[in-house]
Subunit: 155 residues, 2 copies
DNA sequence: CTGCTTGCAAAGGATTTGCACCTTA
DNA sequence: TAAGGTGCAAATCCTTTGCAAGCAG
């Protein structure tokens, strides 16, 4: 299980993918793409909207939702599920990678899964339960290195 | 990793816990408790309401939400997160147990976690990331033994 | 130019809240 | 009988949709 470095140049890649998919590259879309692609933190639609408006004050919330939908369909962003809600998005990563989410600030790191261990578990689970296993989710929650310091300081 | 048998007598236990917590045991609460405690399937608030109305036709949706909130606060039920939504509840289980959810019918089985493997992963992740790991979620998705047959038959 | 996109506002759906009445303890 | 609980309806909140006007290609 190893830490996965964050990717660079996501913006141009995402714009290219949108273009390939037949979507037009408009100013509002560029802004939404930049906001999410450059964020290491999970962002809810409202937060994306707020950040986008800092660059482009008249952008509408509906446009944010519509863009999020396309990015999700293209697999460029993914939804992060947390105890307090499941409407937060972050740049997707490829392969079997598992998010490590800071409960305090929403910062996300990814780990590449240990394919062997998980495969063994899946098979075991399948045999005992009679289920066909199609997918698994593994997520870690905690405090990132910055937030753990703030937390210590405030106690 | 072993299959966890479903628990019996949840209803009286939950009612006792509600009582201990200072809540009154009313007819609507009993009905909601019976509906969820006896279900092997994840249930959304609307579904709980529909099932509850079969036994007690005038029960209100708001009462269902209020009861769900209390049961969740007491840790008696837990939210199941799925790709298509996170408002589904099922009886909680104790200890480190991981749900295996049928995508088709919502049936849930639990597995007791392999504490050793997960502890090792957590520590590894903590060391590499600098995070304090507080919690993890491991969920499996697939088709239960009944649904896999239906699925084969219909193809 | 053509038709996809946008922003706004209205609609829709889910969840929460206010309140008078009712029931538990 | 007092306090908590209920059902209903109204209020909220989030998300989606309709539409005329605005741009990308």
């Amino acid at each position: 299980m190893t830490l996965v470095p964050s990717q660079q140049n996501l913006v141009s890649e995402w714009l290219a993918r949108l273009h390939e998919a037949g979507y037009r590259l408009t100013a509002p879309r560029r802004v939404v793409v930049e906001v999410i692609a450059n964020s290491r933190y999970v962002l809810e639609p409202q937060a994306v909207h707020a950040l986008a408006r800092q660059r482009s004050p008249h952008i509408g919330l509906a446009t944010v939702y519509r863009t999020l939908e396309k990015l999700e369909d293209l697999g460029l962003i993914q939804r992060i599920h947390r105890p307090d809600g499941c409407q937060a998005f972050i740049a997707a990563v490829e392969g079997h990678r598992h998010p490590l989410i800071c409960r305090r600030c929403g910062r996300v790191e990814y780990f590449s899964g240990d394919a062997e261990i998980v495969a063994r578990l899946s098979q075991h689970v399948a045999e005992e339960s009679g289920y066909i296993i199609q997918e698994h989710w593994l997520q870690f929650f905690g405090l990132c290195s910055e937030c753990r310091q703030d937390d210590t300081a405030s106690n």
